[in-house]
Symmetry: C4
Subunit: 283 residues, 4 copies
């Protein structure tokens, strides 16, 4: 595997006129199958994790009072490392803009900005939590395993059912607005239904079966309507579930490619089969 990568790297060298040091950096930063690439990816992941944990702990006031200096130090070291990494990623590419404006490139940039912004704006440091998106790089490290197939199937199932999900969400939003409006008319303001947006917020809390209880109906009519919304929400959770389930099931059953036996015409052989399951003809 490593040989293949090396070949493709030297191929890229000739083709794109990349300097040897650029290739070296590429091998480390972008390489997934090479040893230095793997080590780099795992180190990066550990630093990201560390950074996210520090940001979270920093927000806990009594920890911040105690370890403020340690947190700040770690934060700026991590920011420094991320900045160097970001610059290396750009300089090692022939067409860096395709990286800069890619999803991961923007995430990398927005992981750096809050640190520098916090020098000028108070509270910007909390936005550093955006760094946790970088954690999705974990899938890159796991690429060698079958995790990507899992992600692909998830993505496919969601993409195939996007029309049905759109219909479902628009219908649900309409229902929630109407029910929220009705509750605003029925319930007294004291129960928390002080405006239609707030009532719609309550309707969403109820229909999704979250049920905080910060706003709750007090009149019998309101409670009856609330019961209806709950039963409705309970029943229609079946709809998104059904949509995605059937998508998964169909993606799964497709795994048998319908190639035909050239002897008897039988279809539906498993991928691993070497002989036709009906007539014994060797493929």
């Amino acid at each position: 595997m490593k040989k293949q990568i090396d070949k493709s790297l030297s191929f890229r060298e000739k083709e794109f006129k990349l300097r040897p040091w650029q290739l070296k950096i590429q091998e480390v930063i972008y390489g997934t199958y090479t040893r230095p690439g793997k080590v780099f990816d795992i180190l990066l992941l550990i630093i990201i994790l560390l950074s996210v944990v520090v940001i979270m702990l920093e927000s806990v006031s009594y920890l911040n009072l105690k370890y403020n200096f340690a947190f700040l130090t770690i934060e700026w070291i991590v920011t420094g490392l991320f900045t160097i990494e970001y610059i290396l990623r750009i300089v090692s590419l022939r067409k860096p803009f395709s990286y800069i404006f890619s999803f991961m490139g923007l995430v990398d940039l927005f992981s750096l900005l809050p640190s520098y912004l916090s020098l000028f704006i108070d509270g910007a440091a909390s936005l550093m939590i955006v760094r946790s998106i970088r954690f999705l790089r974990i899938f890159r490290i796991l690429r060698l395993s079958r995790y990507m197939i899992g992600a692909d199937v998830l993505g496919d199932a969601l993409k195939n059912s996007r029309h049905k999900i759109a219909v479902f969400l628009i219908s649900m939003l309409t229902i929630v607005i109407i029910l929220g409006g009705l509750m605003y008319v029925i319930e007294p303001k004291e129960a928390g239904f002080t405006s239609i947006p707030r009532s719609v917020y309550w309707a969403i809390i109820t229909i999704t079966t979250v049920g905080y209880g910060d706003i709750a109906p007090v009149t019998p009519l309101g409670q009856a309507l609330a019961s209806f919304i709950m039963l409705f929400g309970y029943a229609i959770i079946a709809v998104p579930t059904g949509i995605v389930s059937s998508e998964f099931t169909s993606l799964k059953s497709n795994e048998i490619k319908p190639f035909e036996c050239q002897n008897c015409g039988e279809v539906g052989h498993e991928k691993s089969a070497h002989f036709c399951k009906s007539c014994g003809y060797e493929f």
Copy 2:
């Protein structure tokens, strides 16, 4: 596509004796594939959205104090536009009653009434939220895309499983009434179980896993029964989900293209069939 529509319009002109101006209005208001029809649909949608947003914001008291005049102005302009649209929809049809008493016709009417009622009755304005149903017209605009198929499949799945859903809902209501009655006997009134209807309301909150917490059992026996209801509700959510999921899966796997037998007219053959399943005619 436009040509076809134009043809069918001139055909309708001859057949139904519609005046040219009526056809012109029809093309704009009812046309989905014509350019003016599309522009009209999108404009209408924006106005509906604007109207719903204004009604929602109007209910927020501090916004209403500030922008009361602006809100009222927008509301009456929108009401005026909707009224004109409603009249045009009626006069452009040869048989307007089929529109007036259709679902969308009634929604259009009830979108207008609250505005005029609010002149005589206080609070009627809030009922204007009914306008949000009009927002479902969005599916009409998206008709060209595959969204309608999504809606159709959703509708079919729900229609096919209506018997099972009815059995499920009746059984669940019976369970909820009995459990509510039991809790009313077990729990003290101080815990919120002041009457059987209120206890049934609590049972619905619990079995649907909403769980507001405004009413909650305090006795050990009541908590044990509540635990049972929760586990029961958690387990049986599988039932509506299973019903709809299997319906989706079966609708998906069938995907029987409705090609007709040229001999006997039977439809619904499987894709792999070479002979009509009803009369044996070879395709």
Copy 3:
């Protein structure tokens, strides 16, 4: 259909030596397809509904103060009617014990007892809510329609998956007891975790995603464990759903009986097919 019933009734008369008046009562009370049977069933259902509504309203204190006499009157009339019906059901049968000890027979008896008990014991009247089980008779009235098939499929799906559901419930109870025990050790008593049973009650509230909020963790460790329980409960709701869904899907796909074409051996014809879909052979 009526003729068939009549035949079977006169057959039973000869066979079981039932008196004509017994047969007459049977036709009314047990007949589902005969006109008097249908009228009786619908009347019975209305009375059951009326009775349940009265019991529920009676528990609302301010309504009870106002309409106490009316409620009591209706209750005793209904109890009287139910008593007469119960006696008639018994005397019209040759082997009444098979009815008395059947599920519906016991429900009918327990629908009567609370009324008579309330003469001696205060509060027994509330147990009359048990009458709502009688409401399940609605399925008998709907028998002519396809509702019973819905109930059958529901029942079959639940029966087929009873082993998996048992495994799931036992595993879940074990998890809930251990997590409840851990939370009891971790959390202070002030947060509501006063005993292990109460902590288990909280764990059930959390794992089923009900979430009342009457008991909630306050320590960071407790909240971390609670987060784990929530994610776990959220993920494993997939298990009962998956069990029942797959059961429904398989019950559905079985609808095609795999009978073989005697000419070409092709299997998997639809029930309605008269010719083999592969070779056109007439069945």
Copy 4:
């Protein structure tokens, strides 16, 4: 059946040089199909249940005050019995380490430790709740029935979908951390969003639709974001459900009976196969 076990026992005697008394103990403790083995398993289960119930009741303060002595007595008797059983399990085996370090062996050990620890450390007694894991032995007793198949299918479905579930959980944790961070920035500390970990805790409560209500957003922007999280959580519950459902459905529809090819030993042929899919050997 008993004969077979006896044979295999005497076989083991010769092979592994076990003493007769060791075999006798093995037959009772490890035997599942022998009469003494069954009696032992059922007795053990009753003792485990009794022990768990006592531990739970002991934690209820007013019961503990009353029956403290009885509870302690039962606890120490049970601990004694478990200790004897644990020793017997070890001495009756030739290679006891394979049991000691097996999952059930560790559970058995940890069921004993808290009792002895409670002599030295206060509060350790509560950890005895770990004993409830021993309750999973119930599946051993039910082995003769079809419960194990249920457990196997559950396990297979979860194992097959572990990649997809990992992708799902990592993505969800990332989303929850980002949303928690955002809410920490948006919401005031008074609403309960005092730190990012606490906000993440709230985000988990919300996305899993648990909804305690101990922390709830108060600003319009926070409530809007909360609504989004709820709808998102409501929609994506479809994902784990879909994953597991499709797994169950596929495990069900395959139901490949593992009959072996007598030529090459390949297993897992479909029911309809007439030739081995690997070597072409005719069955």
